[in-house]
Point group: C2
Chain length 409, copies 2
């Protein structure tokens, strides 16, 4: 049961001029399932991505990085579900590349102009022949209005499609930002989530899209966790087609650039949070905010320790204010000179612990009231500096175990 | 359901001359439960411990360290369940110390000669008055043959008591080693487990017991994980009463010293593994062995990444050879220059992956056969050096979630 998440209304997803999406059934793992998506982007688009830091990164992730580095102008993306093409060695690279060759042939592109993405089971050979056979149907289906269908086609254990869209005005021109994402387990992105695609028609000066995708990932996908497992296939890509007609952005620090960046982060954050709201077995959406650290990094480290603790997560599932478990996680987060006698803990507006001990005014019924909510903010103050960081996570339920014990069967 | 673990037979637990144990019901959290244990050790005993690295370490852990540092000769240990006295601030220290004062008064000892231990719920005030009121009954019960009862009295969510015992001969003298441990959740010890006590009557040269407890912990309790949560109360203590009459050991590198150390590690390893076998919700006992690393540390880091992955653990629970999840965990273990094209993976005797890809000879039914076993060894070879490390863990089941969602209610 996703937490406060609805399937997107197709009418709310604004097309992005220059971007078309086509979906087909290729039978990658199961028949009669939309499992193949092709996205084409107009000539001159800027494309950049951030990818998993997992050293077992999948073959398509390796090819994406190689093709982007070749700098020959990305013109198409091809995404399959049902098979991650990870842990597949040299053979996996050959199969992923052959998909790029096949799509390139249809579109009269070099294989390096195609970026491949895969998601699904690890360590099984990619059925690249079935994917190639499915391409014509996907190409026949290409249209600008297909964002909602694509959001559904990239799902694996997701229970709902995830998409977000926004329009802003830059120098009198309407600029659109639309994105989709997928992921529900093996989520502790470390560059990006399983798969996230965001497109805008904003015009950017050359080279600027890379810093935009990095910053947006750091403010969105790099702040979520479901089970602490960093995937082999995490990829987040931004496409900027430049068709909006705005004066090209030259910096994100002020003016139109700052407005665009804020809007992109807003959409990326919605996409990232949607993944947590639809986390495997999730019944609660939890924001963990750590303040008063010396650096943002140490705040994030403490926030992740809390967000990854199975004991904290099961307590949230049970709505049990067994909040000492949060203090324990703060304690083992790895800050070796942390002073426990300074730590404050809030649950929403309820002060639970002050200076490392239970707040004498804290009443269990106040904790219990907040724990029953579907959305909860945990606030920890380390009182040793001025930095802050927030991460988003969900609880750990029977359903998580069930989903992951049954996933392949 | 513990995995291949039985309650110890009291007759198999050899008394250690110089060590007496007394148990009582103090009503710490619930009535009619043995929740208070006193252990006295004879004058001249050497005592040393290793304790949690959690910065939110409990009040009794802080006092243990202080009292050991005072070097006034430990003569008694007092252990309560039902309350961890952690996250309790200054007031927690006062309450823990008052327990040492109370026991010291009965035994005519300075409070610093008493080591306090607590385990149970975090962030609730310790009912030190009820503990003090229970001391006379525990003292009346003191006897050398009480190890099995004490093993039961220190349990919390454990389903079975944990104890091990061994006799060796040093220079013609019989030397006994007997220990008990407890713990089933919040287990990723980082110095020691929730609670482990081991005693021997071996005579040691002054100061030698500290290196023994450190080495034994590193070979036992520091190699297990259930849920990755490092407890606030982890403590492992070794007592050496010196009553065996052997020539005092002066080094553990050879001769009698090496024999003793091996026997102590053997008992400590059994106690540590018993904790995993009785891990919350455990249905399988899994050894994760990583070979071919550059250092033992990096091997342990990879082994822990596998052992902590909820996806790996749920796959074991389901007996599903979804073994790509293990490769993914190897990939995100944090070794930044790891070469995925070198990694081999075995499940017991079955070669699953070679050089980072699926072994063409691997058949799913072979993986499935091993996955059904109650005891499984995962072997990863990094092929980049000569170091190895093994850690022990269990699977993640519905029952884990149930136990931790219900723990306080």
């Amino acid at each position: 049961m996703p937490v406060n998440l609805q399937a997107p209304n197709p009418a709310d997803l604004f097309p992005v001029p220059g971007v078309k999406l086509g979906i087909a059934m290729a039978g990658v793992r199961k028949a009669n399932r939309r499992d193949l998506t092709v996205i084409t982007v107009s000539e001159g688009s800027q494309v950049a991505g951030v990818f998993t830091t997992n050293r077992f990164c999948a073959a398509p992730v390796q090819l994406c990085q190689k093709h982007l580095a070749a700098n020959v102008g990305t013109r198409a993306l091809v995404i399959n579900t049902g098979n991650a093409n990870a842990g597949t060695g040299e053979d996996g690279l050959v199969r992923a590349f052959s998909t790029c060759v096949a799509l390139g042939r249809h579109l009269e592109l070099a294989p390096e102009q195609v970026l491949p993405f895969s998601t699904g089971v690890i360590m099984e050979p990619l059925p690249h022949d079935r994917i190639a056979a499915g391409l014509p149907a996907a190409l026949d289906d290409l249209k600008e209005g297909n964002w909602a269908v694509a959001a559904e086609a990239i799902m694996t254990t997701d229970t709902l499609p995830k998409a977000a869209s926004k329009r802003i005005t830059l120098g009198g021109k309407t600029v659109t930002i639309t994105g989709i994402s997928k992921g529900a387990g093996m989520i502790r992105p470390n560059m990006a989530t399983m798969l996230g695609f965001l497109a805008t028609d904003a015009a950017l000066a050359p080279g600027l899209v890379q810093s935009l995708v990095t910053d947006a990932a750091n403010r969105s996908f790099n702040r979520i966790t479901i089970d602490g497992d960093t995937s082999t296939n995490d990829s987040f890509v931004i496409v900027a087609t430049g068709q909006a007609g705005n004066t090209p952005i030259t910096s994100f620090d002020s003016g139109d650039g700052a407005v665009l960046k804020a809007a992109v982060i807003d959409v990326a954050e919605k996409l990232a949070q949607a993944i947590v709201r639809d986390g495997e077995g999730a019944t609660k959406f939890i924001a963990v905010q750590v303040d008063g650290g010396r650096t943002e990094d140490e705040c994030r480290q403490v926030a992740y320790a809390i967000a990854h603790s199975p004991l904290v997560k099961t307590a949230f599932f049970a709505s049990d204010p067994n909040l000492g478990r949060i203090l324990a996680a703060v304690g083992y987060a790895g800050i070796t000179d942390l002073d426990q006698t300074k730590i404050d803990l809030h649950l929403d507006d309820v002060s639970v612990a002050v200076d490392g001990g239970r707040n004498p005014a804290y009443r269990e019924e106040d904790g219990a009231r907040v724990m029953k909510q579907a959305e909860i903010t945990v606030r920890v103050n380390l009182k040793r500096g001025g930095a802050s960081s927030t991460v988003w996570t969900c609880d750990l339920s029977y359903e998580y175990v069930k989903i992951n014990a049954d996933y392949r069967s």
